[in-house]
């Protein structure tokens, strides 16, 4: 299978299959289905490179991101999602959210 990420981020390829997700709905679902070890490893590997990834993506106009640049952006969005579990709640689920659901029904792409 060809890599999802450009060569600059080849070391993050092990996380790409799990976390290159185009919608918040998918990213939220993946977070809920992941354990803290998995998310902690992704967080530890990618957080230090967030700024570099943003700068990499920003070499292209936002509305014309090539596929291999859209993937790092999806990974950035996933890092934001995972940060909620790692930094804020220390568990995948939101504390006291019980069975409540809030669906993101419309969002900009990418």
């Amino acid at each position: 299978m060809s890599p999802l990420l450009p060569p600059e981020f080849a070391d993050l390829e092990p996380y790409a299959g799990q976390w290159c997700l185009a919608t918040e709905a998918e990213r939220f679902e993946r977070r809920m289905a992941s354990d803290m070890d998995e998310m902690g490893a992704f967080y530890a590997a990618f957080s230090p490179r967030l700024e570099e990834a943003i700068e990499f993506c920003d070499k292209y106009p936002l509305d014309e991101l090539p596929d291999d640049v859209a993937h790092p952006l999806q990974l950035i969005h996933s890092l934001v999602m995972v940060s909620m579990a790692v930094e804020v709640f220390h568990q995948p689920k939101i504390v006291d959210a019980a069975d409540a659901v809030l669906l993101r029904v419309r969002e900009p792409r990418p």
Binding site: E51, I54, V80, M84, E87, A97, L102, L103, R104
Partner: protein, 411 residues
């Protein structure tokens, strides 16, 4: 000791003596009979915000809105003349729901040149005129001019599309909104066209849910994670800088140091890394000048202003972006919740990530409200307790329930 000056009466609540200071009942949020009264007295009388003009980007754009409590389905459309109109979503021939996509009970949106009924193919133009009747000659003296779509009163204020299901609304939308809300005439909502829209079906009365978004007293207890644990203080209080009431509408303003101007330990690493978070992007350009109506209390430093527009609309303005909540009752103990965050369109990936971070953090804490309020509803429905004290920080809750009672009582 209060950090912010209170009115001469020593409290915001006593500044509005008609509110009283006694305990209140939440029977209005548990009783199926009261829900029935709200149908006619509120949701068939008040102007209701159903969307924005950005939801109708070009001629022929439409969306439908299910207003279950008013027993109405409404189609809102931008006509060939660019006018926004609303109609009851009912074919005049046999009463079929005219506009729907996959399921008739689900809302739909799109673009069309005309509406065609799925049942017998009658057609209507975007101004609501009946333009085609299949086998017209089979009917008896039928004049298409008599069979246009039933109109719904519709008006636009600063890009917000309102409908009114009353036969003859007693006020225009501007009169209804009044001076405190129309003081936002100059606020450039239209510039914030990048939207993150959310929807939920919640197990609570629409007012029980709205109550949680018109006071900040609950924030330290329910949302302690808004402050990183290292600097979290037990028994930390919250005080709003300003409250104001105008007719059925109300607002509150927060003040004080912006989150991102606090020492770094008061923010999460992801907020520092994205320069965004719970209160939105840090570096977004300021809107200058902000209309005076945004900060009627003259609070310095100004934080956010939370406009509660009767009956079921909230607009929270953070300066250079805003949030909208709408609460659509579906029974005495359920409602459909809509929310969106609106930003000026991102110009690059960095700004898109700022918006994403704000939208993600919004959902985290909104889910805490939604999760808990199902429990509030269930506990209220036991009926064991029916006298509840409200403090001065909860003045807007008090005013909301009084306004609902006044409208129901006046009907």
């Amino acid at each position: 000791m209060p950090r912010w000056p209170k009115p001469a009466e020593d409290s915001w609540t006593e500044h509005y003596p008609e509110l009283g200071t006694g305990t209140i009942s939440f029977g209005d949020s548990t009783s199926p009979e009261f829900y029935e009264l709200e149908r006619d007295a509120i949701f068939k009388k008040a102007w209701l915000n159903v969307g924005r003009v950005e939801d109708l980007p070009r001629k022929g754009s439409y969306f439908t809105k299910e207003i279950q409590i008013a027993n109405a389905s409404v189609v809102v459309v931008r006509g060939m003349d660019d006018e926004v109109r609303a109609f009851h979503n009912i074919c005049r021939h046999r009463g079929n729901k005219l506009v729907w996509d996959e399921f008739p009970r689900e809302e739909s949106r799109g673009f069309c040149r005309q509406f065609t009924c799925k049942y017998h193919g009658w057609r209507y133009d975007l101004e609501g005129n009946c333009t085609f009747v299949q086998q017209e000659g089979e009917f008896f003296d039928l004049d298409k001019a008599d069979y246009g779509l039933a109109p719904v009163h519709c008006d636009v204020w600063n890009g917000f599309v309102f409908v009114n299901l009353d036969r003859e609304p007693s006020q225009s939308v501007r009169e209804f909104l009044g001076p405190m809300i129309t003081a936002l005439d100059e606020y450039p909502f239209h510039e914030m066209s990048e939207r993150y829209d959310f929807a939920a079906d919640n197990n609570s009365n629409w007012k029980v849910f709205a109550d949680a978004f018109q006071e900040y007293y609950h924030v330290p207890a329910l949302h302690p994670q808004q402050t990183p644990v290292a600097v979290r203080k037990p028994d930390m209080g919250v005080e709003c800088a300003h409250f104001q009431i105008d007719g059925p509408h109300r607002l509150t303003t927060t003040g004080g140091v912006r989150r991102w101007n606090l020492p770094q330990e008061y923010m999460y690493p992801v907020e520092i890394a994205t320069r965004s978070g719970l209160l939105g992007p840090w570096d977004a350009p300021d809107i200058e000048p902000l209309p005076a109506g945004l900060n009627p209390g003259g609070v310095e430093p100004w934080g956010i202003t939370n406009f509660q527009i009767f009956p079921n609309l909230e607009i929270l303005i953070y300066g250079n972006w805003y949030l909208v909540y709408r609460y659509w009752p579906t029974s005495s103990n359920t409602h459909h919740f809509e929310a969106y965050l609106a930003f000026p369109p991102a110009r690059n990936v960095r700004e898109r990530v700022e918006h994403e971070c704000a939208a993600v953090m919004f959902k985290e804490f909104a889910l805490q409200d939604a999760g808990m309020l199902g429990g509030t509803q269930a506990a209220l429905e036991t009926g064991v307790v029916d006298e509840f004290p409200l403090n001065d920080q909860e003045i807007l809750v008090r005013h909301f329930h009084k306004t609902v009672a006044d409208w129901v009582g006046a009907a």
